[in-house]
């Protein structure tokens, strides 16, 4: 042996290296393509899902969420580790390819990496391999010693995933060591022979290894070099072919998952993408019952999940002990798909998901708050899947008794409480509603250009009617010409759709759309984020809709809305306010600042933030039909939320959603914080503090006092 050669020159067991490695390459690649093609089979059998539109927007998302790793820093340590590993992998891609080719062609140089760039790239990747290796060590230590709680697998969801995770981390570490040792021995061999060699990056893993083996014999270097190469080769192809069997498949699928991710926030997918609403009657089966009923993108989501546990860590249902964790919703489905579409063997028709991998309670436990989707670095979708599974259960008549009555009432009366239609607008007739007459009903015959869409809970619930009255006073004081639909208004159907009763939702939507069109208004305002989301995203061809907080902030900026200082109210001086983001205003519609700006424009108001706020806001327990569902849980979401407010040092929770108000008000009592904590709606606060335009100041003052007292007694 005269020098150190490329591994393709080695002859072992009479097999020339070139032939050996060529065979390994072909086998490895063939295996990978076979496995991947078997993984594509379920995608082809799945439902249609048109995701090929808006390519530029999709590319933008790839740059932001894939290349830019946008969501990762939300978890500081794990996110940093992932960004380093990801960057390392991206950098190492060309190097790994070059090393593989070196087995069959000793002079191969990656196009673009010849000349002066080559050595720079080599040194950079020396460090990249080192960083990835170190990240693997840190990751293993985290898994084994620090054991972050979100990686734990509760017994009901199967066995711990730790062994698999360690195995994969170990394999990557091995790949990095093999790659580094290959470079190190080659370098040492050249030095040994007195040949000119590019230096290795100082303090990098290859550099350290080269220092370590520098004094060994050439024969030993040769042996180590070929061994390192073989280990790299085998580890590389083993990883490539093993990844499609577990969480590391995201290395291949994440790019596609993110490119094809959902673009329209706040919406719900149609029952079938290829069937228009009017032909839904002809669809044989609604929703998802077996795994083939999912769309191909949703199955791709299952493949892409990296089991990082961030979704479940943020899921309010999971944290109060409901039988739902988004992470396992995905992991269970992935395992089920793998089991029914095996890589080897025949695909078998899969059985119903409910009863086999999912329980009914699991699927009804979701409040569609969106915390999981907000957190997922891979943009895995959950709400559409939950809604599709619910559609399947509704279609089979599989609905908890507690939900059947409100659904039936929505069908016959247009509200979940079964109250009379003619009483829907009664709250607006009560004398304290307005100082200047009653609120007109928009029927196209009066002057109103703004419709206040009240929705069921604010119309019928004694306590929530106070939100309606406060809003009416505010709009009236702002001099707006507004009205309500009264008896013609039906439930917005927001939760009806999200609980899977699509056709009932459509019936409600159509009735409301007709009534809104007949009213002749030019814009709509609502105090209910659920109604806001429905009107904005689920309805078509209606005037633009705003949440009251958006209107208030605009009026305040335009100088039309002034507030009295909180100092005027004795009680207020000791009050510390915090704002609770309703899911359908915040996460689903990105309205975070407007309500806060309104609060902050009240002079002297002391506001603190809860630790979980804005896009990490913690759901109060859910709105609409979720109020009727009786979940199996250890404690109420609202109670957890109220304690968070107390922890932040607040004693008044301001929210901008009637459902948040119901849940939080109840939770204050359950948490035993009655008298120490209170909750109010943004409109009630504004109504209390706004300076009114009327000349009759004394009467206004009296009205404010009365309203103040009313809110204080009912609020807590």
């Amino acid at each position: 042996m005269l020098g150190i050669y490329s591994p393709h020159n080695v002859v072992d067991w009479l097999v020339p290296g070139r032939n050996l490695f060529l065979t390994l390459h072909i086998l490895g690649i063939a295996c990978f393509f076979y496995i991947v093609s078997m993984r594509i089979v379920p995608l082809l059998r799945a439902q249609r899902d048109p995701r090929f539109d808006r390519p530029l927007e999709r590319l933008g998302r790839v740059l932001k969420f894939w290349l830019g790793q946008w969501k990762h820093p939300r978890y500081r340590l794990a996110g940093t580790l992932h960004i380093l590993i990801f960057a390392g992998f991206i950098l190492l891609a060309a190097r790994a390819f070059t090393v593989l080719i070196l087995g069959v062609n000793e002079n191969f140089v990656m196009p673009g990496l010849s000349g002066r760039i080559g050595p720079i790239y080599e040194r950079l990747t020396d460090y990249a391999a080192t960083v990835v290796f170190l990240c693997m060590v840190v990751a293993v230590v985290r898994r084994l010693v620090f054991k972050p709680a979100r990686y734990a697998v509760p017994a009901k969801y199967g066995k711990a995933h730790t062994a698999d995770a360690i195995f994969l981390l170990g394999l990557i570490a091995l790949l990095m060591v093999a790659d580094s040792l290959f470079s190190a021995t080659r370098f040492a061999g050249h030095v040994h022979n007195g040949e000119i060699a590019e230096t290795l990056a100082i303090y990098s893993l290859p550099w350290m290894l080269a220092t370590l083996v520098g004094s060994t014999s050439l024969a030993m270097l040769w042996f180590l070099n070929v061994t390192a190469y073989l280990v790299h080769e085998v580890a590389f192809y083993f990883l490539l072919c093993y990844r499609p069997f577990g969480i590391q498949f995201h290395v291949e699928t994440s790019l596609f998952s993110i490119y094809f991710s959902k673009l329209n926030r706040g919406t719900i997918k149609p029952v079938r993408w290829d069937v228009p609403d009017e032909h839904l009657d002809q669809v044989k089966s609604f929703g998802v019952k077996t795994c083939e009923d999912f769309t191909w993108k949703h199955i791709l989501d299952f493949y892409s999940c990296a089991d990082c546990g961030r979704c479940a860590d943020n899921c309010p249902a999971n944290s109060v002990g409901r039988p739902l964790a988004p992470r396992f919703l995905t992991i269970k489905a992935r395992d089920w798909v793998f089991q029914h579409y095996p890589v080897f063997g025949k695909a078998n028709n899969s059985k119903p998901l409910i009863g086999n991998i999912y329980s009914e309670d699991e699927i009804w436990s979701c409040t569609t708050c969106g915390a999981c989707e907000e957190e997922c670095p891979l943009l895995v979708e959950y709400i559409d899947k939950i809604v599709d599974l619910r559609r399947g259960m509704i279609d089979d008549g599989n609905v908890p008794q507690s939900l059947q009555k409100p659904l039936k009432a929505l069908e016959s009366r247009g509200n979940p409480y079964g109250k009379m239609e003619k009483k829907r607008g009664d709250w607006a007739k009560s004398p304290e509603a307005l100082k200047h007459g009653t609120i007109p009903v928009c029927d196209g015959k009066n002057q109103a250009d703004t419709l206040y869409f009240v929705d069921s809970i604010t119309s019928y619930d004694d306590r929530m009617q106070s939100i309606g009255r406060a809003t009416a006073r505010i709009l009236s004081n702002l001099g707006m010409k507004f009205g309500i639909l009264g008896a013609a208004e039906k439930d917005s159907g927001h939760e009806v759709r999200r609980f899977g009763e699509e056709l009932l939702f459509q019936a409600l939507r159509d009735q409301n759309t007709d009534a809104i069109k007949a009213s002749g208004v030019q814009r709509i305002v609502t105090t209910d984020p659920h109604a806001y989301n429905a009107l904005k995203h689920d309805y078509k061809d209606i005037p633009p809709v705003e949440h009251i907080s958006q209107l208030l902030v605009r009026e305040a900026r335009a100088g039309n809305l002034h507030f009295n200082s909180v100092e005027q109210w004795l009680e207020d001086r000791s009050r510390v306010y915090t704002y609770h983001d309703p899911c359908y205003l915040g996460r689903h519609n990105q309205v975070y600042d407007d309500p806060r700006d309104v609060l902050d424009s009240i002079p002297g108001l002391h506001r603190v933030e809860m630790q979980r706020s804005r896009d990490r806001s913690f759901c109060c327990g859910g709105g609409g039909l979720a109020l009727f569902y009786e979940p199996k849980e250890e404690q109420r979401m609202g109670v957890v939320r109220v304690r968070m407010a107390a922890e932040a040092g607040a004693n008044v929770i301001v929210t901008a959603c009637p459902f948040c108000m119901v849940n939080i008000e109840d939770a204050i009592k359950v948490a035993g914080l009655d008298g120490k904590m209170s909750v109010m709606d943004l409109t009630e606060l504004v109504d209390q503090h706004m300076v009114r335009g009327s000349s009759d100041k004394a009467a206004q003052k009296l009205a404010e006092k009365t309203q103040e007292l009313e809110t204080v007694t009912s609020g807590g």
Binding site: L280, D281, F286, I394, D395, D396, G397, N398, V399, Q401, L403, Q404, K405, L407, K408, A409, E411, S412, R413, G418, K419, M420, K422, D462, E501, E502, L503, L504, A507, T713
Partner: protein, 262 residues
């Protein structure tokens, strides 16, 4: 097994505000919404479950005017094989015996192994099931809260005072009145109702059934409603008229005073 279920349309108490009519002998019916009587819905679900276990047919029958179609359609959407409306002007104003007579006439035209009724209609007197059984000379069990089918007979469990249960063996054919809570009735969605929207529901009148004038309807009724009223306040009743919070506090005090909280 051929199963017949007798169902009835009633004003839904959870979706209506029941008020007395001006005449005082009925409730104000102008803006009422109706649905299938709750116990009857359980009876239909039980029939469907039995069919699911051992096969057969489920026929739902109601005595009503044409409005009765609404609930029959709902039961078809739920999964019943047939629905039949028994309707005739001469049936109007029937008392319990009259309704049982009409139903018996229908049973005589077919062959049913098992006849189920709800334990009682929301506005009824829990009498039709027993009368129908007697007229047919079939055995009868009331307040049934579980059914096991055995060879040529059934094992039924009945709810008796104090929450206890007794198990009875009963020969087929028979009539059972079904207690609510025997099962969890399935949900009937908009989609299900639309799918049966165009199914024709056969209507049988007095002549089809062979019900003679004078055996059903107002003229035959020997039980007549003469008054309808909200019971007056008795001496020991107390109505709390304060705010919600005050009332809750007061109730708590009252329960505590009577030793209800320990």
């Amino acid at each position: 097994m051929e199963i017949m279920v007798c169902a009835r349309r009633v004003p839904d108490t959870s979706e209506n505000e029941i008020e007395l009519s001006a005449a005082g002998n009925d409730i104000e019916r102008d803006e009422l919404v109706y649905s299938v009587n709750e116990a009857d819905n359980y009876a239909v679900e039980e029939a469907l479950q039995i069919r699911g276990r051992i096969g057969g047919n489920v026929t739902v029958v109601t005595v009503d005017n044409e409005e009765g179609e609404e609930i029959l359609r709902r039961q078809l959407a739920m999964g019943a094989n047939q629905a039949v409306l028994l309707s005739d002007e001469s049936f109007e104003g029937s008392d319990g015996k009259g309704i049982a007579t009409i139903l018996k006439a229908f049973v005589d035209k077919g062959h049913y192994d098992l006849i189920l009724t709800g334990v009682q209609a929301d506005d009824g007197a829990a009498q039709v099931g027993g009368m129908l059984a007697a007229m047919l000379d079939y055995p009868f069990a009331s307040l049934v809260n579980s059914i096991t089918v055995e060879d040529g007979k059934l094992k039924v469990s009945r709810e008796i005072e104090g929450g206890n249960r007794e198990i009875n063996e009963i020969d087929l054919p028979c009539v059972l009145s079904i207690q609510t809570g025997i099962n969890e009735p399935r949900y009937v969605g908009m989609r299900g109702i639309r799918q049966v929207a165009s199914v024709t529901i056969p209507t049988l009148g007095a002549s089809d059934l062979g019900v003679s004038q004078g055996s059903a309807g107002k003229s035959a009724a020997k039980v007549k409603r003469v008054d309808y009223f909200v019971p007056g306040l008795s001496k020991c009743a107390e109505i709390l008229k304060g705010s919600r919070e005050d009332n809750a506090q007061k109730i708590l005090e009252l329960v505590e005073a009577k030793g209800g909280l320990n």
